[in-house]
Amino acid sequence: MVKKYLSRFYAFLVYLFLYMPIFLLILFSFNDSRYGGRWQGFTFKWYTELFSDGSIMESLYTTIIVAVVASIVSTIIGTVSAIAINNMTPKKKAILTNLSYIPMVNPDIVIGISLLSFFSILNFKLGYVTLILAHITFNIPYVIFAVLPKLQQLNPNIEEAALDLGATPLQAFFKVILPEIMPGIVTGSLLAFTLSLDDFIVSFFTTGSGVSTLSIKVYSMTKRGISPKINALSSLMFIAVLALMLILQLRDTKNNSQNNNV
């Protein structure tokens, strides 16, 4: 019994450590003081001012545009190559999976500086395009490794059955394979989207002047104190993510209970 309470208390402390800074961030978004730290009274003004702050809004748009484009492109390339990898001989499969591990095990800073060197040797202008190319590069492997397990679980006969019944390979793919591997694709694209959204290090090295994502904006603010407007924005984003996670969780448990009933 004591052991049970002890482990509960321990878990509580660890979660407190994890969430305290996040609660503080949310708290400061309601604090009526320009420079956080001390509580000066409750206000909503940072939330209203947030939407009229041009430079924050612009970096929010940049972040979202980069994340959307990068996750769509990497989901398509990643899914298509997962299908190819799944059908390869073991030797080729090993080569390609190892190739995909490189961006995953490479420290972000090395990805960042290597792409920076590459773009500058080619005299590529740093900005939106380089940012998106860089994000696609680190996203693709995550999509591949999200889709690949679903393909491996797939019964190979169903594709043949579809083909025998007269479907063209394309029809077989869209009507039979795609719906089966959809959960993996959704997971992969969500993963890619959030990785893009949160990335700072690779973006820091691959963006040019005038184009900044939220993370870059925050970094430039850290030295002289972050505006509570940023706290307000991140509180909103945190709530949005929380809601999304809860919806996904609820859908999961619903599906599970339905499966159990059958």
Binding site: G37, I77, I102, I201, S234, V241
Partner: protein, 280 residues
């Protein structure tokens, strides 16, 4: 020849163009000379690597290794019991507890680290609380110390230790534990002789997933170490963005990558010997 192989072509081209070629350029930079404007001169040299062995840079390497080792150990000490507690909870609670570990990763990493600046600084929340409780008489210098950097690393990377250990612990065959108990082992020796060795692949992967970002970070040391704590990552960032000595920056990156590959090889070898499943 399988027709589906063609589908891999876009990705292979992409990976060669945006992963392999850039890494080769870094390798190339690290062995070439620098002209007075920072450009590359094609002549082979070891100078960039030699420069790294000057005491001032070796100090940075030593500090990086030390701080990332400390934070990896701290993550293990805090994270293992946590992963164990989660794996012992009811199945229903487990997914919630894991979700609570993933959730902070979805808020901006810079903001979470910045929040610690607010907590740790001289007029910050922690000092105020300690003063209020009468534990200290005057504010402690907590921000801009090595301790603050280690704490920032532990805070940011703890989930990377807990998740892989949990996933291995939750897959351990319960009948093995029953067998150990039937054979007379108490819960402590069951843990030491059965559970812990079986969880080693998860531990190895956790160590790697903490150590790697810790040794290469420049943000945490920049914000919480405040320029006093220069790590390898800061050095690289500095060479690329400020000093514009890309040749030296590339050499440091190559050294860092070699260290990571060596520790990865070592851990993979050990984890597969003990547990069987691969590292990733």
């Amino acid at each position: 020849m399988n027709k589906k192989n063609i589908l891999a072509v876009p990705y292979v081209l992409w990976a060669i163009l945006f992963t392999i070629v850039p890494l080769f350029i870094v390798l190339l930079y690290s062995f070439t000379k620098r002209d007075s404007f920072g450009g590359m001169i094609f002549s082979f040299t070891f100078d960039n690597y030699k420069m790294f062995f000057e005491p001032i840079y070796l100090n940075v390497l030593w500090r990086s290794l030390r701080l990332s080792l400390y934070s990896t150990i701290a993550c293990f000490v805090i994270g293992y019991p946590m992963a164990y507690i989660i794996s012992k909870s009811d199945i229903k609670k487990q997914s919630l507890m894991i979700m609570l570990f993933v959730l902070p990763l979805w808020t901006n990493f810079l903001l979470r680290t910045y929040a610690w600046m607010v907590v740790l600084r001289e007029q910050g929340a922690l000092n105020e609380i300690l003063l209020f409780l009468g534990i200290i008489d005057e504010p402690l210098q907590m921000l801009y110390t090595n301790g603050a950097v280690i704490m920032g690393m532990v805070y940011n990377f703890l989930p990377f230790m807990v998740l892989p250990i949990y996933s291995v612990l939750s897959k351990i065959d319960k009948s093995l534990l029953e067998a150990a108990q039937d054979l007379g082992a108490n819960s402590f020796s069951t843990f030491i002789k059965v559970i812990f060795p079986l969880s080693f692949p998860g531990v190895a992967s956790g160590i790697l997933m903490v150590f790697m970002p810790a040794i290469s970070t420049f943000v945490i040391s920049d914000l919480l170490g405040g320029g006093q704590t220069i790590l390898l990552g800061n050095l690289i960032q500095n060479q690329f963005m400020m000093a514009r000595n890309w040749q030296f920056g590339s050499a440091i990156s190559m050294i860092m990558m070699v260290m990571i590959v060596i520790s990865m090889g070592y851990l993979t070898k050990h984890s597969s010997k003990e547990g069987g499943t691969g590292l990733w």
